[in-house]
């Protein structure tokens, strides 16, 4: 097989090469299409991430509440439910099964559903990390916060969560990268993201290798960008003195 990168410059309708590779006046080339697909991938991922972070922080926190076995059990159930069923299957449940129970859900577009599914799925994993982050904090920190007169909510808000989130930045980084990769399930509910582009474009152009290479490259670029952003966040959030203190040897 020989390379044929020209295919990205072709118009999606007429299959003729377009000057400059970007379509004009409503025409779109495969390059246009791929970039817009990348946009969808990024949007799905970021929104899911937002949802997963909020839910994950909440559920993870609930699972560490002292003296509330009921709430802790509820949090555990949440985590077990959403992490033990494959994402694709969960998405299907959202798309086809939930609307049979709540007909109103039928009007919800696939984009929202995939954000819900991916967000809930990832929230279970983030909840697990948040819980372990809080639990690795010295027990004295919780006592210290309470002893200052903080309410439980304030203890979490001002002391436990800020410290726990700093600890779990590395696993959160992998989880964020995972969201980008997992966002590919969105094609199953008709969101025109990168994987759907890859499947459709390789079918139309019969240039599978080139299409897959380009799409893989975009995924790698996305993952790398996330990795850099999180490294930056980690650096910004780094607590002065803490690393130096633990490096000293005895």
């Amino acid at each position: 097989m020989s390379w044929d990168w020209q295919v990205f410059c072709e118009d999606t309708m007429s299959r003729t090469a377009v000057q400059g590779c970007f379509g004009k006046g409503g025409d779109i080339t495969y390059l246009d299409w791929m970039l817009s697909a990348w946009g969808w991938t990024v949007s799905v991922s970021l929104l899911s991430l937002l949802l997963a972070l909020v839910l994950g922080a909440l559920v993870g926190t609930l699972r560490t509440l002292p003296g509330r076995p009921g709430i802790v059990k509820l949090g555990n159930a949440w985590v077990e439910l959403f992490r033990n069923i494959p994402l694709l299957v969960q998405l299907f449940l959202w798309y086809h099964v939930v609307p049979t129970v709540f007909p109103a859900m039928k009007a919800v577009p696939g984009f929202v559903l995939v954000v819900l599914a991916l967000g809930f799925f990832t929230s279970a994993r983030i909840a697990e990390q948040v819980r372990s982050g809080i639990e690795t904090l010295p027990r004295g920190q919780r006592y210290a916060a309470m002893a200052m007169g903080f309410t439980t909510f304030q203890s979490y808000r001002y002391v436990l969560l800020p410290a726990a989130f700093r600890i779990i930045i590395p696993p959160l980084t992998s989880e964020t990268m995972n969201i980008f990769k997992n966002s590919s399930v969105a094609f199953a509910v008709s969101v025109a993201e990168l994987t759907m582009f890859a499947m459709q474009a390789q079918e139309e152009t019969a240039r599978g290798i080139e299409v897959y290479l380009a799409v893989t490259a975009l995924y790698v670029v996305s993952a790398f960008a996330i990795n850099r952003i999180m490294a930056f966040v980690e650096k910004r959030a780094r607590i002065p003195g803490l690393v130096a203190a633990s490096a000293g040897g005895h």
Binding site: P138, M146, M148, G241, A244
Partner: protein
């Protein structure tokens, strides 16, 4: 000021506190000692309800701590506590450590809180470190900040849980000095410690606990150190062990 009446506490089936009763008057300095696992930390934590109790009554400044209806955060804001491992908030600067609870709990303005906090920081001799983070301070310095943090809440009583046992030997002195100063100023204090020098110098009373959370001795400093013949064997054993070297 503080009164414990027949306090008992269990972890599951294991009894950590057995029928503990004592009272601490305003201005008194009480030292609690005893072997490891005897429930000293647990006892002191029950006083501001960091650990719930299953039986008995605890009164702090006429507030019933054991009563479920008591506003615990409010009570705790008046009870200063200093921990073995300092427990400064590592992600906040020294100044923020000193002010955050004043602002969020006592509702003081940022300015007022800062003023009060820095005054206390100055008192423990660490003004120069106000913008550092806890991780950048030595153990002794961290513990002094922790004391200043508790003081800046204007506590009516201070609880200490082995405040020097995690420190390098040369830093013990600087923390004890601050505590001696507090005692001399008339602060009501309850202090778990094995520093018998400190107990000798400033305590009014000594409580000795034994495994199972029983109060074996509760007597004046003088009785405790100078009349060993009146003490129980268990107490004498313990004192021998920790005073020998």
């Amino acid at each position: 000021m503080i009164e414990l009446k027949n306090v008992s506490k269990w972890y599951g089936n294991y009894q950590v506190l057995t029928d503990c009763s004592t009272r601490i008057n305003k201005g008194e300095v009480v030292v609690v000692c005893g072997p490891s696992g005897s429930g000293k930390s647990t006892l002191i934590k029950t006083i501001n309800a960091l650990e719930p109790i299953q039986q008995g009554e605890i009164w702090v400044d006429r507030v019933p701590v054991h009563d479920p209806a008591t506003n615990l955060p409010k009570l705790r804001s008046h009870v200063g506590m200093v921990f073995q491992h300092f427990e400064l908030f590592p992600h906040l600067s020294v100044t923020e450590n000193l002010t955050i609870a004043q602002i969020k709990v006592l509702g003081r303005s940022a300015d007022e809180a800062k003023q009060r906090g820095l005054k206390m920081l100055d008192r423990v001799g660490l003004m120069a470190h106000k913008d550092k983070f806890p991780g950048q301070l030595s153990g002794g310095q961290q513990q002094r900040v922790a004391i200043a943090r508790a003081l800046s809440m204007d506590p009516i009583v201070m609880l200490f849980d082995e405040p020097t046992s995690a420190l390098d030997p040369e830093m013990v002195g600087e923390v004890l000095d601050v505590m001696v100063g507090l005692a001399h100023e008339g602060m009501t204090m309850m202090c778990v410690t094995h520093e018998m020098g400190f107990a000798r110098k400033v305590s009014n009373r000594v409580i000795f606990m034994d495994v199972g959370g029983k109060i074996l001795e509760d007597c004046t400093r003088d009785e405790f150190f100078n009349h060993p013949e009146e003490r129980q064997t268990r107490t004498k054993d313990f004192l021998n062990k920790i005073l020998q070297h």
